[in-house]
Symmetry: none
Subunit: 216 residues, 2 copies
């Protein structure tokens, strides 16, 4: 299931990330080709298709530069401990049901600063997302809320996680229960019913460790 990502595709991913960091917008197929030393657009197309299948990127068909990275790569998830007290958590973008995690290029390398006291011991690999839309209401998470996640691909039973459903192509925040080859995704709201999906259809994006709601 978790096949190793081929070297070339890894390179494609990296070069997209770099390009976005530098330019503020994604590269074209040809520019990717140049960057990784490939001089046929079809090959890049081919790679992009693979990456999309894996859910690592998402694209809009026939639109130029319409590539988005869905999985935050671990390199950028670095928490600097500026003070002993304040953590600067990288703000990676927005999350909404029906759309992959939208990791944007923020020119200033935006962070959200949060007091360390609000976290547990483990403060590695944290990143922040802002929730768009009311689709997470059943997880008691509202439009505009900020969630802090720890980047990991596996969570313990019952923990809330950002889950990317590969086939359904949507992201949700749910409590995760492994049940053999199935995974039960349980809304935090006890009145809502869980959904069951195949284990290889889910891709854990991170464990939710903190939810912050700022009101007017």
């Amino acid at each position: 299931m978790a096949k190793e990502l081929p070297e070339r595709q890894r390179k494609v991913l990296d070069c997209i990330q770099e390009y976005v960091d530098e330019h503020g917008f994604p590269p074209t197929v040809r520019e990717i080709g140049d960057a990784i030393g490939v001089n046929s657009t079809s090959l890049v197309s081919y790679y992009l298709k693979r990456l999309e299948e894996r859910g690592l990127i998402s694209r809009e068909p026939s639109m130029s530069r319409a590539i988005q990275l869905t999985t935050p790569t671990t390199e950028e998830i670095s928490v600097e401990v500026s003070d002993d007290d304040v953590l600067a958590v990288p703000f990676l973008g927005y999350i909404a049901a029906g759309a992959p995690i939208n990791v944007e290029a923020f020119p200033g390398n935006e962070t959200i600063e949060i007091n360390r006291a609000l976290f547990g011991r483990d403060i590695s690999d944290l990143f922040a997302l802002k929730v768009q839309g009311t689709s997470m209401i059943d997880a008691l998470i509202n439009d505009g809320d900020t969630v802090i996640l720890k980047h990991q691909e596996r969570v313990e039973n019952g923990q809330m996680a950002a889950v990317w459903l590969i086939n359904e192509e949507e992201t949700t925040l749910k409590k995760v229960y492994y049940e053999g080859k199935q995974v039960r995704l349980q809304p935090a709201n006890p009145t809502m019913n869980p959904i069951h999906v195949a284990a290889d259809d889910v891709q854990i994006q991170g464990k939710v460790v903190l939810v912050i709601r700022k009101l007017a």
Copy 2:
């Protein structure tokens, strides 16, 4: 030199910002046109030229979607790093339906430390409560959540507040709407129905400014 930015150009700027927020990459000339109700690419081109002259955006010539905002226009949740003080908000105790909040009586001098950046300008009269029980589920607030309130007796329409219902002898967190001699208390969850109570039956304990949920 600091001429007022024409309405239309302002709109262009805003729509680029929105588009980037939503898609992760900048819009095309035509997409901008659609967004602001202009159906000629030349006009958008014209606007973009003006915006570039003013230094508000930068572009790469002849590249699709190669627009960058030089000035972050919208406030976003970008955090002011200037003052990374840590606020010590007094922790006053627990809130649960059926029990009043006694703001005066400090049960000790416990505080909850929170980074100032998470708040707005006004940081006076803040206090923290921990929610007990699931009675606030309809306000999207769960058992164990921490709410930060600003102590005030009156809030603006639509703001979330801790409300003490004198006759019913219970406290709830609801959005408050003044409707003449009545007050409508609207749950944050849009699927729940509001309750209407007499204005002199409600006693605002404080305005909710922040909700924090710490997960395992």
